[in-house]
């Protein structure tokens, strides 16, 4: 009896496999592909779907990692913070008030230069205990050194998770990255996703090397000692410098992603939809892109030249580039799936940031803010048309730029 010969070495990487999976499952698959070492979990809807999928992967022997169910979100994020400090690739996540409960851990993570990747299943903050999407949870860390990215479909969730590891673990950066996935619309909807081969991911994502910051007996260091005003500004400046470097590292990562996976996202920071000849544009983040795009197609049949800019990376914020783009239009309407009570012009967070980005721009069209789709309420096609009508009025100088609540019973 002759022994079976070993199969010849594979020269071509395995083809992408198409799977019907949710946005959460896509993130779990990315964890598997990234060969994550330590994952912590604590249930809260909609993030809990990720931990369920990860648990399944571990149980099925598809993913070899430490899977720790913590006793709270605070511990959940603390555990991965420490695991990352000793050189483990980590994944964590939460939603709504769970994310808020972890807030102390979230604040210390960037300054310690921990390249944690987290998924935020965007959920309204309590009270009331709504499950649906609002972006206030993830946005709460916007000042702290977290890189924040919003995705609008399961494929992008998977791809962005891989990109997030690549960027966060880059030695020039070492900052955490949170991927925001709209609760329900993305986390709980199954879509066809191309799952890349392990070989491609290996080619794209180098090993996490913590270098001189590795907490290890062979590299004796003390991390996070007490320091007062004579050290703190220097520490903050270092973290700020890392965030300043982030944009170019993101750009590199997307270019490599396209080269290796053959899938392009164009401008990494924001997606432009039918903007080439647009008179006015809407700006937004996340899954509201679907009704907006459909409404734009319908409105264009009515002769209205409307475009859409979907912001992906909120931190770092591509201010100059976005300002140059938005300056091309006659008016801009920013749709916020969040609120920032008492903010300038009572706008949401995104509108306020867009206005700030536009201020030094040569061309500054009127900017309207819209608060829409809170707590998981749908942003409907008629809602989008209504917002567009207001933007047109602003373009014609017939309305004062301000903030409107859309889809509200009144």
């Amino acid at each position: 009896m002759t022994e079976a010969l070993a199969p010849p070495p594979q020269t071509q990487p395995a083809a992408d496999k198409t799977s019907l999976i949710t946005g959460s499952e896509a993130i779990a698959v990315a964890c598997k592909l990234a060969d994550v070492d330590v994952i912590t979990a604590y249930p809260i809807r909609p993030y809990d779907t990720v931990m369920q999928y990860v648990a399944k992967l571990v149980a099925n022997g598809e993913l070899d990692c430490e899977y720790i169910v913590a006793e709270s979100e605070h511990s959940q994020f603390e555990i991965v913070k420490h695991a990352s400090a000793v050189g483990a690739r980590v994944f964590c996540g939460s939603s709504g008030v769970g994310w808020m409960y972890a807030f102390e851990a979230l604040t210390v993570t960037p300054a310690l230069r921990i390249p944690m990747v987290a998924m935020v299943g965007n959920r309204a903050l309590d009270d009331p205990g709504a499950f649906g999407v609002e972006h206030n949870d993830a946005l709460a860390v916007r000042d702290l050194g977290w890189q924040l990215v919003w995705v609008d479909n399961a494929q992008e969730a998977l791809d962005t998770a891989l990109i997030a590891y690549r960027v966060a673990e880059d030695r020039r950066i070492f900052l955490p990255c949170a991927i925001s996935c709209d609760g329900a619309f993305l986390t709980h909807s199954q879509a066809l996703v191309k799952v890349p081969s392990q070989e491609k991911v290996k080619a794209f994502l180098p090993r996490y090397d913590r270098g001189d910051l590795l907490l290890h007996p062979d590299n004796p260091i003390t991390v996070a000692p007490q320091a007062n005003e004579d050290w703190l500004m220097e520490i903050r400046r270092q973290t700020a410098a890392a965030m300043e470097r982030s944009s170019s590292v993101i750009r590199e990562a997307y270019a490599d992603f396209e080269r290796i996976f053959g899938r392009s996202y164009g401008n990494p920071f924001f997606e432009e939809y039918q903007t080439d000849d647009a008179d006015v544009v809407l700006v937004g983040m996340g899954t509201l892109s679907t009704p907006v795009k459909v409404a734009i197609r319908q409105m264009r049949q009515e002769g209205k030249k409307v475009g859409f800019v979907r912001v992906r990376w909120f931190r770092p914020f591509a201010a100059q580039e976005l300002a140059a783009t938005l300056g091309r239009f006659k008016a801009v309407g920013v749709i916020d799936r969040d609120f920032s009570l008492g903010a300038p012009y009572h706008s949401g967070v995104l509108a306020t940031e867009v206005r700030a980005a536009m201020y030094p721009a040569a061309s500054r069209p009127p900017i309207l803010g819209f608060i829409c789709g809170l707590g998981g309420r749908e942003v409907t096609v008629p809602d989008v048309k209504k917002m567009t009508d207001s933007v047109y009025l602003a373009a014609e100088g017939k309305t004062q730029p301000g903030t409107k609540w859309i889809g509200l019973r009144e």
């Binding site: 300054a111 310690l112 230069r113 921990i114 070492f174 001189d212 910051l213 004796p220 260091i221 003390t222 991390v223 996070a224 000692p225 007490q226 320091a227 007062n228 005003e229 004579d230 050290w231 500004m233 220097e234 520490i235 400046r237 270092q238 410098a241 890392a242």
Partner: protein
């Protein structure tokens, strides 16, 4: 612009925190009796709740509001009219908690300003302990021990008002004796304290300290790194492994001396230090084991040498030592340097024996801690007697 007055009160946490607060409050209130506005505050970067840690309070007073604002535009004053020191061991300098380097005790004292200290020692003993200053300054001694009387559980020994009375004498432009007595009556409702202030006022004298007098050493300091020079991630290098020691007489190597933090020294956090009698040491290791700061260097001959770069003077070594008078805590004012005791013993055993005998001859002074229960209660009458009789 009117005139600005600044006073610092240098004290040790935690036992003197309230004492310092009382003094700086009373300064502002006394000046306010004369229509001057003022502000009293503790340096926020200090940790006055920690036992023995040098800390500071400030009283800033001006002849008008705008001048006060000018003064407060720099939160911590760059120079003061009066430096008050309520623990004479602080004459060796101040290393605040998380505040790096050794600051001479007279660093902020203005040229011609006054340093007021509570001490049983005379000027001849105190002046060499302080670093030299380029300009002359005055030294006024308020006779007494490091007071704990600000702490509410202990009885009052009038240290606060005696200092205030002395201030009225050395800087009458800040406030008069009458003003401070008025504040004492209002704040403490205690005529005896008002009398103590008056006595201190009457007795107060000062001597001029010349630039040629004092400790000529350059105080320990280091350069703070730029943000681009610091390791990222709030990570600092660990302390490397230690090394063997060398016997200064035989050249023999052995034992173990740990490496220590190169920038954070503990020269002034202690009010006492252990004096070790190497001739009676039985090498039991207990001092080395129990020391919370890894102070003891293990010598090639297996003895334990207390290293003064690391000792904060807690006295645990004395408490655990099973041999009578082998480790004895002695007041810091008794020492002129931080040299190795073991090296001195190796070089001249007879000389060292008499040195030890001399150092431990007198029962050590009270420090930031008590040597036995009830010691403070015993000492209050003594302090009050000093307040009354001088």
């Amino acid at each position: 612009m009117g005139r600005l007055f600044a006073v610092e009160i240098v004290y040790r946490g935690i036992f003197q925190k309230q004492l310092a607060t009382k003094i700086s409050r009373a300064i502002v209130l006394a000046a306010h009796e004369e229509g001057k506005p003022g502000i009293s505050f503790g340096r926020y970067g200090d940790s006055p709740e920690r036992n023995g840690i040098p800390a500071k309070n400030f009283a800033i007073v001006a002849t008008d509001d705008l001048t006060l604002e000018e003064g407060m535009a720099k939160y911590e004053p760059k120079e003061v009219d009066i430096s008050i020191v309520v623990d004479d061991t602080l004459f060796k300098g101040v290393e605040s908690w998380a505040w790096y380097g050794l600051q001479p005790i007279n660093r902020l004292t203005k040229p011609g300003g006054t340093l007021i200290v509570t001490s049983h020692h005379d000027a001849e003993t105190l002046i060499p302990m302080a670093h030299r200053k380029e300009t002359p300054y005055q030294l006024a001694i308020v006779k007494g021990k490091p007071s704990f009387s600000g702490l509410w559980v202990y009885k009052d020994d009038h240290t606060d008002v005696r200092i205030l009375g002395t201030m009225a004498k050395v800087l009458p432009e800040l406030f008069s004796l009458a003003s401070v007595q008025q504040v004492i009556r209002t704040e403490w409702n205690d005529e005896l304290k008002a009398t103590s202030a008056k006595r201190a006022y009457e007795r107060a004298t000062s001597v001029t300290v010349q630039p040629t007098e004092g400790n000529p050493e350059k105080p320990f300091e280091f350069q703070m790194p730029k943000w681009t020079e610091m390791r990222e991630g709030i990570a600092i290098p660990g302390i490397p492994r230690g090394h063997e020691m060398k016997d200064p007489t035989t050249g023999k190597t052995g034992g173990y001396q740990p490496e220590r933090n190169p920038t954070f020294k503990k020269f002034t956090t202690r009010t006492m230090r252990p004096v070790v009698d190497f001739d009676t040491c039985i090498k039991c290791t207990l001092c080395w084991l129990h020391c919370p700061d890894s102070v003891f260097d293990v010598t090639p001959d297996g003895l334990y040498d207390a290293n003064m770069e690391a000792c904060c003077g807690c006295g645990v070594c004395e408490a655990v030592c099973p041999v009578a008078k082998c480790v004895t805590m002695v007041n810091e004012t008794q020492f002129a340097n931080n040299d190795s005791q073991w090296e001195a013993w190796r070089e001249n055993k007879e000389g060292y024996k008499s040195w030890v005998k001399e150092k431990i001859a007198d029962p050590p002074e009270r420090s930031h801690g008590f040597r036995f229960r009830g010691q403070y209660q015993e000492e209050v009458p003594e302090m009050l007697k000093i307040a009354k009789e001088g």
